[in-house]
């Protein structure tokens, strides 16, 4: 079967992606999930408009 250099590069890249350790992707997904879970917990807290952040600008 004839295969162009471009197709070969594509195949190699795809197989490399498959061979890449799943761990990193899982860690990334888990880190994003943690941010999302934090956001969900914070969303449950009613915040009056007058509540300012716990940091103060000093002129």
């Amino acid at each position: 079967m004839a295969i162009t250099r471009r197709e070969l590069a594509g195949l190699l890249a795809a197989s490399a992606a498959v061979a890449a350790p799943q761990g990193d992707d899982e860690e990334t997904r888990s880190a994003h999930e943690a941010l999302e879970q934090n956001a969900q917990q914070l969303d449950k807290i009613p915040l009056p408009m007058a509540t300012e952040p716990a940091c103060h600008f000093k002129a």
Partner: protein, 478 residues
């Protein structure tokens, strides 16, 4: 040269100061002995980042000269170590992380200058969790120097992120150490290693020259042999610093005579912490510690922490600030050189936190501060187990969910993130052993209430001897 008994390695500050002034041994002899011990034992517990022996001996000679001339200073000749996020001029300051392995600063951190002024002798940089663990680490091995091994049992973790500081004090490699806390990094290694640790009020101790992980949460504080030793060190390192924007411009002076007597102190605690939240093997000694506190004559009141998701708030604040601090490391790709994959992913994800989310967390933090301030209308201090059990195994996943059912009562669960969000001081006191490993209780007080915390700690330690116990090391030094 005098032969130093093993007991000098586990002696407290005032004892060593007295013996130095009595010329029982010289500062050079003491420093040399501690340095040899730190260099020999430190690496076997992954506690040593960098030895400062040469400079330390030179400083010790100066201390001996001064002692000869009867010119005394509070910590003269006392060997100590600093967490490797505290800059010591012209020596590596790695922040426990491979990307910073060759980093050298031109100037000392303010706390090192203050300790120099008090006569203390810095003998080494102590190992730590990489970047103080801000990205969230999965395993104790998240460090340039490997996992901190517990001096009481090498198969257990020392706690972090001030791992080397906890180990070095517990193993008698230094008389005291400096650590830092963003959320639990002084209290946890203190508890797991069986030493006394003091987290100061936010703003009491300058962080100039120390790695920033979170500008609004970071604190520098001592780990030592007793509450009173922590006070002596805190007195030396506290005080205003125009180089630290978070500095409150306040000083600390230890005067037990100015603290309330135990009978006038109202201690808030939650029975559920000691009966349900605490892991079963730790309960007997934690409950015994509670009885000791009660026997001191304090007034006791049952309390609960206000209901907030403290972990989520703290994590969001930390992510927002840490992402900004380490943006360059993350975007350069060098973040991938860190040891812990979860830490790497956490740091990368922190850059994606929306500003609105950070500000929301800081607004909720205002509510937390207000609610905790109100809680302290009714009590002078809070008392809780520092950690609910002894140190985990060094191979354990640190983020594994607990297999035990969640207790019904909230108790004071979440006191570490809550206290850090509010900027309140705390002292951790060894109070026994579970599975042959130390466990500890903590008192948390109002900001600038360190004097009372230390006085209570000293009263507790006058009735117990847990702080005097140490692992049995009999090491022959060449």
């Amino acid at each position: 040269m005098a032969t130093l008994n093993d007991n000098v390695f586990f002696a407290g500050i005032s004892d060593l100061v007295k013996r130095l002034r009595a010329k029982e041994f010289s500062a050079v002899e003491l420093t040399r002995a501690f340095c040899e011990r730190l260099e020999k034992i430190g690496p076997t517990y992954n506690a040593l980042a960098y030895s400062l022996k040469k400079e330390a001996i030179k400083q010790a000679k100066d201390a001996d000269d001064e002692i000869k001339r009867e010119r005394y200073r509070a910590l003269q000749g006392i060997p100590y170590g600093v967490k490797d996020l505290v800059a010591v001029a012209n020596h590596p300051t790695t922040w426990g992380a491979k990307p910073y392995a060759d980093q050298v600063f031109d100037d000392n951190a303010t706390v090192v200058n203050k300790l120099n002024k008090a006569g203390a002798i810095c003998i080494g940089k102590l190992a730590m969790v990489e970047l103080a663990g801000g990205g969230g680490y999965r395993y104790p091995s998240a460090s340039l120097t490997g996992p901190g091994l517990n001096p009481w049992d090498r198969t257990r973790w020392s706690g972090g992120s001030s791992s080397g500081s906890g180990i070095a004090v517990a193993a008698g490699l230094v008389t005291f150490a400096l650590g830092s806390e963003t959320s639990g990094s002084i209290l946890t290694p203190s508890a797991f290693c069986g030493v006394t640790g003091l987290r100061p009020s936010y703003g009491l101790v300058s962080r100039h020259g120390c790695m920033a992980l979170s500008w609004t949460l970071d604190k520098i504080g001592p780990l030592a042999r007793s509450a009173e030793d922590c006070a002596v060190v805190l007195q030396a390192i506290s005080g205003g610093d125009s180089d630290d924007p978070g500095s409150a411009g306040k000083s600390f002076y230890y005067g037990p005579e100015y603290a309330k007597k135990p009978k006038d102190v109202v201690v808030g605690y939650a029975p559920a912490d000691f009966e349900e939240w605490a892991e079963p093997p730790a309960r007997p000694d934690l409950q015994n510690a509670l009885s000791v506190v009660k026997s001191m004559g304090v007034q006791i009141k049952e309390v609960e922490l206000p209901d907030f998701p403290y972990g989520a708030i703290l994590s969001t604040v930390l992510n927002g600030e840490m992402g900004a601090i380490f943006e360059k490391l993350i975007r350069s790709g060098r973040v991938d050189e860190l040891a812990d994959k979860r830490q790497i992913a956490g740091l990368k994800a922190s850059l994606e936190l929306p500003a609105s989310e950070y500000l929301k967390a800081m607004r909720v933090r205002s509510m937390v501060q207000d609610q905790i301030r109100r809680l302290f209308f009714n009590v002078d201090v809070l008392l809780a187990p520092t950690r609910m059990g002894p140190a985990p195994k060094v191979t354990d996943r640190l983020d594994a969910p607990s297999a035990r059912p969640r207790p019904q009562s909230r108790g004071l669960n979440g006191l570490i993130p809550a206290g850090n969000l509010a900027g309140y001081p705390a002292i951790s006191l060894p109070c026994g052993f579970a599975e042959k490993l130390p466990v500890a209780i903590s008192f948390v007080g109002r900001p600038w209430f360190e004097n009372q915390l230390v006085a209570l700690g000293a009263a507790f330690q006058a009735q117990t001897d847990w702080h005097k116990r140490h692992p049995d090391f009999r090491v022959k030094l060449a």
